[in-house]
Symmetry: C2
Subunit: 351 residues, 2 copies
């Protein structure tokens, strides 16, 4: 297992949609962690270029994360939402995007990954079929599946996953849940520490813990709970190697609370609270990726003009603890803090 060979038990979260770059992934891998590239929103060809670029920057293992496509939503609800957003598009001097459905170039990406065989292929928004998992393993990759609920962990284990990424409700960005049904919202949101216990009681696979991990003490924490590594995303968003937009970096530098919303993409995600979230979370339909495409020009306008209220400022609950260090420096600092926290906790209670 790659997890047994890492110098530092830190895995970079995929950070699809801009922040992920070959430079960031390579920097984390070169520092002893495991860097990740995000296939989400890219064409297979663009992903191929990113893998090639990252491979030039590091000889160490790298991971690639892929979105599993879901079923299309009904058009009527999307039209209502488009009408609701029309005024905001007009005010931002832009037009809404076409709310189209696509599968994020699924087949081509799988073919590419089979040929590129990165150290790890991880999946978000679902569990690939056992046949797909077997194909990628045969090609030489480990297959990790991201889960948010105990039942998803059992399903991924049955399908043949090598490891599970447990995403707690604290995590920034999209919830990785296999389904995204508003009827489940009331009972959704299992916190990372609960999820670690619940999954460990049911599944014997290696676990990578994600969600709200912003300090070395928190890394120590998830190791003590039985995880093999911690996955951090928000902590790296302000690194110079990340492709994070300026308006997003600026928002991360304040202590504004985060909120969970479908308003930007039609799929539940956590970001820094802004007026767009407050105005539209109650009415947006669960329609991904159609709403993602619908709001794309608005979000683009917000990034261009530096208006944070139009932008999906993805961030985990611990975002205010982040700094703007280079990725390698951050990995070294977090690792030193984590070791110290483990030593201290063990020493405080010698038994």
């Amino acid at each position: 297992m790659i997890l047994d060979e890492l110098g530092v038990p830190i895995v970079l979260a995929p950070l699809a949609g801009g922040p992920a770059t070959p430079a960031l992934a390579a920097a984390v891998s070169n520092a002893g962690g495991l860097g990740f590239l995000a296939a989400g929103y890219l064409t297979a060809a663009a992903l191929g270029e990113q893998i090639a670029a990252a491979t030039k920057l590091t000889g160490r293992p790298l991971g690639v994360n892929v979105f599993v496509p879901g079923p299309p939503a009904t058009a009527a609800a999307i039209a209502d939402y488009a009408a609701e957003l029309a005024g905001e598009a007009h005010a931002a001097s832009t037009e809404l995007g076409e709310p189209r459905y696509d599968d994020d170039d699924w087949d081509s990406k799988l073919a590419l990954l089979e040929s590129a065989a990165p150290a790890v292929c991880s999946f978000t928004f679902g569990c690939p079929d056992a046949a797909v998992i077997a194909r990628l393993r045969t090609a030489g990759s480990e297959v990790w599946v991201t889960v948010t609920r105990p039942a998803e962990a059992e399903r991924a284990a049955t399908a043949g996953a090598d490891a599970l990424v447990l995403q707690g409700a604290e995590a920034g960005g999209h919830r990785a849940s296999f389904t995204d049904d508003p009827a489940d919202d009331l009972a959704d949101g299992i916190g990372l520490l609960s999820l670690l216990q619940l999954v460990r009681a049911r599944v014997d696979l290696p676990l990578v813990a994600a969600g709200g991990i912003g300090t070395g003490a928190a890394i120590a924490t998830v190791l003590a709970a039985g995880a093999s590594a911690a996955q951090l995303g928000t902590a790296f968003l302000r690194s110079p190697e990340a492709g994070t937009a300026a308006v997003h970096r600026k928002a991360l530098d304040a202590d504004t609370a985060t909120a969970m919303t479908r308003a930007f993409t039609g799929r539940l995600a956590r970001g820094i609270r802004n007026s767009f979230i407050d105005a539209h979370s109650a009415t947006v339909p669960a329609a991904y990726p159609q709403v993602h495409y619908l709001t794309a020009p608005l979000r683009g306008a917000g990034r261009k003009t530096g208006n944070p209220d139009l932008v999906n400022l993805w961030a985990g609950q611990a975002h205010e603890l982040g700094t703007a260090r280079p990725a390698a420096e951050l990995v070294a600092k977090l690792a030193a803090e984590a070791r110290a926290a483990l030593r201290q906790a063990a020493g405080r209670w010698p038994g």
Copy 2:
């Protein structure tokens, strides 16, 4: 500090509303942890009797938790909710309760606590004035304040609290938030691990970590994150010493997910999902304790007839990991597991 003197870093959660008993509190203290009594819903006189009973059963430190009263809500919204519940009351052959406001006997309880001077007085639903905190400290108690957000932690520290109980969103029962405004729900729900990091970055007080802690590994976890102890409630609900209703015990024995709702009491709380939560969470007003009194006969009927769909089955997200062990046995088991988890985590990464 009491926290420095505990043989085992396990604190019993208060468990107001039935499960808390002098026998349970004393058993946890006798096992080396810190037992707690819950003043909530009791008269000051009844609380006095509980303190006397527990003190007979243990010579070790005990804590008492008190609800801080909030402002009354408007009557109109409560009348609408009563109309909504009328059919369910009829079907259960009972009548709804009078939705009255009270302050849970606040002044009398403070006077009692000043005279009884338990080792710890802890507070939920708000932060007492600095004068109240000073009074209780002068009487000989440590004062702990339960918080769910970083700003609440700062306020409690300023008011003079000796320690903070950090309640993550994973916790069963009522959210301890100082205010309970539905407008905040979207941005509420900080997970325990994030809360530990966020509060530690702002406040230097000893921290007790609560929410979804169901295993020794999770106790090790919060110690590694810098907490002085873990507070567990749900884990003790099935102990023979607890006053938990039979229908509640039975529900805890399944793996049904929990949900956050105001439906039972008018204040946000986490319980095992049932049809009452699904039917009324969207319409219930934020009106505590009026809704608590309104639904009390319904909940009583559910407990009496063994109908789990009428009962507030408070439980944290890790409830399915619970067992029915005696409290002392559970404390010993969790402590042994926690020590082993800390040793293992420190050993896996010798650095």
